[in-house]
Each structure stands twice: as structure tokens, then as C-alpha cells.
């Protein structure tokens, strides 16, 4: 069954770097598998943990976060993103979702080789791992949402706290 499996790879490509980088690959008429879907994003820093887990739940087998790295035009966004992905990866690791299914990398506007290399790497990994466990991912996603909301306080708490201090 594994040999018939075609993984779905989602690339979250930054508008300033990786998306034009992916364009450059096409312009150079370099080929990569058609099961790679590229979404243009301002910065992947906007995605909460549950978004990634939700992607797996929907049947995306691997996610490549193709960011700007140190060329990130937004102040501090790349470091925040890296920290968030770090957290997500350890959570996936602890819960039995293969961490090779996610990868954070920097792709520049002309990084054709780097782009192809990352796709090949992710592709190899996914063929080896097989389809994502969607049920597990979905379960983790709901846990993530619950956790996020558990930290939330009642609306009135903030002013009351300030008054008390």
C-alpha cells in the first residue's frame, strides 16, 4: 500500500522570500512533484499550533514552512516563529506524530536549489513515514485549542486585578 501512497505536501511560503523563490523554480523550468501545494503568507508567525495540527487532520501529510529566515522583513517575527515551531515539534514528538512531517527553513527569492532540496527531503521522509495519522492529529488539535482557551480568563478579571494592585 505504501508504494501507492502519494503524500500531500503543504508549503507555507512567505510573500517576500519563499513564494517568489518557488516562482523562480518554475521560471527556471525546474520540476518537482505536483503534490506540493504552495500557500502565500505574509509571515507564518500568524499560525497557532492548532492550525498545523488541523492541516494534518485534514489530510496534509507534511508541512514545509518556507520562511525568510534572517531576511524577515517583520521585526522579531522569525524568532517568534522559530520558537512556536520548536514548541509544536516537541509536542508532536511527545504525542507520537512524526516530527519529520514539519520543517522550518529559509528560502530566498532565488534559492532554487534549496527549494528543490527541501521538497525532495520532505518527500522522501513522507514516503518512508506513510500517511499521517489524521485521527491523532485531530485529537491533538482539539487539545491545542482547549489549552489555548484554558489559559483564558474571564473578561472582568483584568480590570479587577489592576484595581487590586
Amino acid at each position: 500500500m505504501t508504494d501507492l501512497f502519494v503524500p500531500k505536501i503543504l508549503v507555507l511560503a512567505t510573500e517576500k522570500c519563499a513564494y517568489p523563490g518557488a516562482d523562480a523554480v518554475g521560471k527556471a523550468h525546474q520540476e518537482y512533484p505536483s503534490n506540493v501545494y504552495i500557500l502565500r503568507v505574509p509571515s507564518p508567525v500568524l499560525f497557532p499550533e492548532d492550525f498545523y495540527l488541523g492541516c494534518y487532520g485534514k489530510g496534509i501529510d507534511g508541512i514545509l514552512i518556507a520562511a525568510c529566515g534572517s531576511d524577515c522583513p517583520y521585526h522579531g517575527a522569525y524568532d517568534r516563529l522559530a520558537a512556536r515551531i520548536d514548541k509544536l515539534t516537541s509536542r508532536m514528538n511527545a504525542s507520537g506524530l512524526d516530527i519529520e512531517r514539519i520543517r522550518l527553513t529559509a528560502i530566498c527569492t532565488v534559492c532554487i536549489k534549496a527549494f528543490l532540496k527541501e521538497i525532495a527531503l520532505m518527500s522522501d521522509n513522507l514516503y518512508r513515514l506513510g500517511p499521517v495519522n489524521r485521527m491523532l492529529a485531530e485529537q491533538l488539535r482539539s487539545e491545542s485549542v482547549e489549552r489555548l482557551q484554558a489559559s483564558s480568563c474571564a473578561p472582568r478579571l483584568v480590570p479587577a486585578l489592576q484595581g487590586g494592585l
Partner: protein, 653 residues
Amino acid sequence: MRNNDRFGERSHIDDELSGSDVERDEEEQVWLPTGQSADPAQSLRIGVYICRCGGNISDVVDVERVADTVRLIPGVTTAKVHTFVCSDPGQHMISNDILEENLDRVVVASCTPFLHEQTFRGAVARSGMNPYLYEHVNIREQASWAHKHDPEGATAKAIRMIAGAVGKLRYAQPLEQIKLPNHRRALVIGGGIAGMKAATDLAARGIKVLLVETEQKLGGRLNYLGRVYPSESAAAELVTELAQRVQQDPNIEVLLGWKITAVSGFIGNFKVMAEPVDASTSSLPGVHATVGAIIMATGFRPYVPRDGEFLYRSEPCVVTLPEFVQLMRNVSPDAKTLAYKQQKIRNIGFLHCVGSRQLDGVHEPGPDGRLNTYCSRTCCTAILQQALAVRKRFPQIGVFDFHQDIRTYGRGQENYYTDASRAGVVFFRYNGEEPPTVQVTPSSRAKNGALSVVVKDALTWGRELEVDVDMVVLGTGMMPGQIEDLIEQMKLATGDDGFLQEVHPKLRPVEVAVNGVLLAGTAQGPMNISETLAAAGAAAVKAAAMFAREDVELNPYVAEVDQSLCCGEAECVTQCAYEGALKMVEMEVDGELVQRAQVNAGLCVGCGACVAVCPHRAIDLNGWRLDQFEAMVEGIAADIPGRSCESELVTIH
């Protein structure tokens, strides 16, 4: 059929995962990505236009099949193919359909959005549709060109990407460009040639300019140059001419010996504060000003070699290129010989790439741990200009040039290389991984101890050569200016090299991610004077174009708080790196005073760092909402109707 089991299993999981969210009506071949059954978006009328791009797309992607398939997506009322959607007839077709078929959302699947997204936004806007209800799908650069040998796969991918875009449009809201008042006055930071050029260009268009320079004199680094290539005119004349124009222009206010100490605000509305550089000698109070645009003409600082690098500072006759330029400038017109620190100069060695094109493992990083891996671009021509000047002025002096490459690019510059060769400059070429070394050799004739340059010369098949010289000139390059405070305050991005970074090196070369801030000259990276002037001119034009409007119009891609969902936890505020862009404000809700997050659209850059942390999804990025991304992923991941699982073949009956 072998594969159907797995997909059967998947469908089962689908149902289990999303319960009633997934609806599939196999008989009618209606295809509902999850969650949209009760969505009012079902009443949408979406037009999808697929471009053949004259064969660029349709030679690989079966565009007719794409149209036939996406027509099955609920909400898609029209799906058409055109040879060039971007052409007048193509755009006309869209306009007509919007009016005649009452379309309220439009998708075009064609080339990269960087080419025609604006074109089609304009086209739909002209037909009365909100331009932000338009979605662009890239099936050329990212499908037909990238999957040429996989037409089936490329076709399936095009369908999925369009399904994603349709999903995104379901959650799209009409957006309006953000309008803010525009203060018609520019701040130019730096009074070098870039700053002076930008200031005079702006003033000539009737725009008030505040020019702030830390030195007591206009001209910046040009004050330290002799003649400038390729015109060979005197730098001093260039400075005098421009400085006069600056000082006589009633539109330009110049502050010499002042610096910018605080910057806040946003495009059209920056609040800046200037103070004297030396507060001890000046009793002048700081000045506040409101400006609409800021031009960064802060320049560079020359690389200064470390103590002992090529014997710099340990041997008096090892000097940097700027020091040598000073020496040549000060030579008296009737001098027959060249002397430096009591040393008569008979032979000079010029070393290229000192402090530039540094390699890991070969060079020592600077105090900030950074290697200058870049080429400083101006030193090659500047060195050859000096080498040639020496040979012309003092024909008895031997000149030796040690380079890894000669980069005398650009009009008129290659002549310096040919002229220097003809004038008897001797060239040696080293491999970047084995740079030459400078040594002291005992010699009777030298007062300070003679020097020699040892080089593995690639031009003589790697032979190690030792060249005796009396003076070594280090071709030092450019370093980023020391403007850390401004970078921090204005949240400017810098590249790996430490220079200020533009939004896009080709499409938006003088703009930065912070709207209203423009780059002029070497603040952005090594440039020669001609390039600096071109950049400064471009920055001035960009600023002038911005000032042509009464209001500043910004893309609406900023964060927005849904006040009905916010409960004032301020998680988002902790994530925001842009001061004032997102803050807690007090407001009355149901008769009670509460704290709520609020976005200042003028200060928000739209990075989305705040979005991820909100427990209630109360804050989202307009145009790039989280639910839109989720809908796109659903569109991509959903099964294509009638598809054979093995080949992703699409068959419509």
C-alpha cells in the same frame, strides 16, 4: 481499485472527524469541502477564470477539465477559459460577467500574483466589485512550468488550488484601503551626497524637507575623497555644488551637528525628535517635528582593519585606502617623490578585499561576530584609480596589485583596469582562501623596516612570490553605518550583512517593510556615487509620489480585533513588536469599563504575530484570516469529484 481501500478508510475518518461538517453528494457530483453546508456563502456567485497563457499553461494543464471540475464547487456559478485573461478582451469578459451574472467574487488562475494580481483587482474594481473579493491562483510558475512532465498531476493541482481559493473567498470580507492624513514634509537623515540629492529633488517638487546631519558639515564621506571615478571630477566640487543648492533652497531646513533621537508614528504621520549631537557644547533644546516620510541616507562607515591585520597599526607604512587617498590629496603639486612618515616610497602594494568577501575559517569575525561576506563593490575601481594616479604622477614608483578578482563593473570603469595594465601596474591574483600576507623584511635602505607581500599567485600557476614594497595600501571596503538606535526605534530590517534591507531587491528596491521609510544610498549596501545618486533620486520620487495624495492609502492587510470576542487578556499585545500598533484601551461594554485590545491600522505592519496567541480568535489579519487559510487547506486536501485515486485523474461524465 487497490487504492480505494485506503481512501475508503480516509472518507470514513473524514466523517468521524468532522461529523456532519462533511457533506458529499456523490450522485450529483456536488463537492462540498467541510463546514460550508450552513454557510451563507453558499449563496455566493463566484466566477472562476482560467488562463491558457497562450499555451504556457494549457500545454500542460488541461484547462477545460479544470473549468468543468471547478464548476461543481458550490458557489461557483461561472468557470471560463481564456487564452489571455490579462488581455483587454479577457478583462472585459470578467467585467461583463460581474455585471450580467451578478458575480460577487472572482478567481483568476493564471501566472504568479506578482505579475497580475493588481491588474485583476483593478479590473473587478472597475466593475464595482470590492477588489479584495478577488483571489489569484498561480498555475503557471507553480504548476504548468514546474510539472511539465506530469500533466495529470498539474491539472489536479490546479483544481485543488482553485478549490482552495474559492474556499478562501467564502470567508473574504470587503476591505477598504486605509486612509490617513498626509503630512507633506520629509525628514532626510544624513547630509552626505545621498541625503543632499534626495533633499534637493524633493524640494524641487515643492516639498518641505528637514535635513539632519551629525557632522558640522554637509558632504559626508565625499569630504574625504579626492577625485571620483569615472568622471575624474573633484569630490569637493561635487559637494560644494550640492551643498550650496541645499543651503539656498527655502524648502530645505538643515540641522548640522544634530541627530535624530526618537522616531514614532507611521507613514504620513511620523513624530521625530532631533537633538544636538554634543549636548555639552549646545544649550539648544531638542526639536520635535512631524513628517510624512523618512529617507534613510545614513551612509556607511569604512572598514577599519584590526590591529595587526596585514600589520596595520604595527607598521607605519601599512595604510588603508582612505588614508592613502588623503596622502595623495596632500601631495604638493611640485613634489618629485612620494614620502610617508619619513619613508621614501619606491614601491607600493595594493591589497584588494580587505574587510570584504571574508570567508568562514579564513578571516576573523568582527566584534559582533559577523564576517563581511559581501563585496564592497567600489574598492576595485578606487584602488586602480589610485594605482593609475601614482603611476602617472610618480612614474618611478612601482605599483603592485594583489587581487582575487577585479570587479571594475559599470560604464567607464573597465578602462581603469586596461589603463592601469598599460601604465605598468603589475597584477597578482590570489585565491580567496589563501590571501596574501604582509611581512617585515630587514633592509638597509628602509627607515621603518621594509615590507614585503607574499602571495600564491594564480597567474603564475600558484607560484609563491615575495614582492618587496615600501608601502602597503589596504583596499578596505564598506561597513554598515552605526545606526543601531534608529534601526531599533524604527523597526527596520537589516540583511545578513547588517545593511538596511529593502522590501524586494528588484520590484521595490528603495522601500522598506515600514511604510513611508525609504532608502537612499549606502545605508542599504555598498554603492558607488553614481548608484547612490540613482537610489537617492528614486527615494525622493517615491516620497514625492506619496505626497501627491491628500491622504495616505495603505493596504488593508492589518490586524483587526473583533470586539465581540475580545475579553481583554492582552496576550496579543505581548507579541506585538511595533510600538503603538496594538494596545489595550479602556472602553465601556454593557455599562462596565473594561480593557480591550485595539489595533492602530497606521502602525500595524500585518505580520500576524498577535493572531496565533488569541484564545478566542478575536484578533485576525484582514485579507489573510486564519479561517481563510483553513478553508484553503480544506480545498487542497479535499477529494476531487470523479477522481481516480491512483493517478489523480479527473473524469467528468
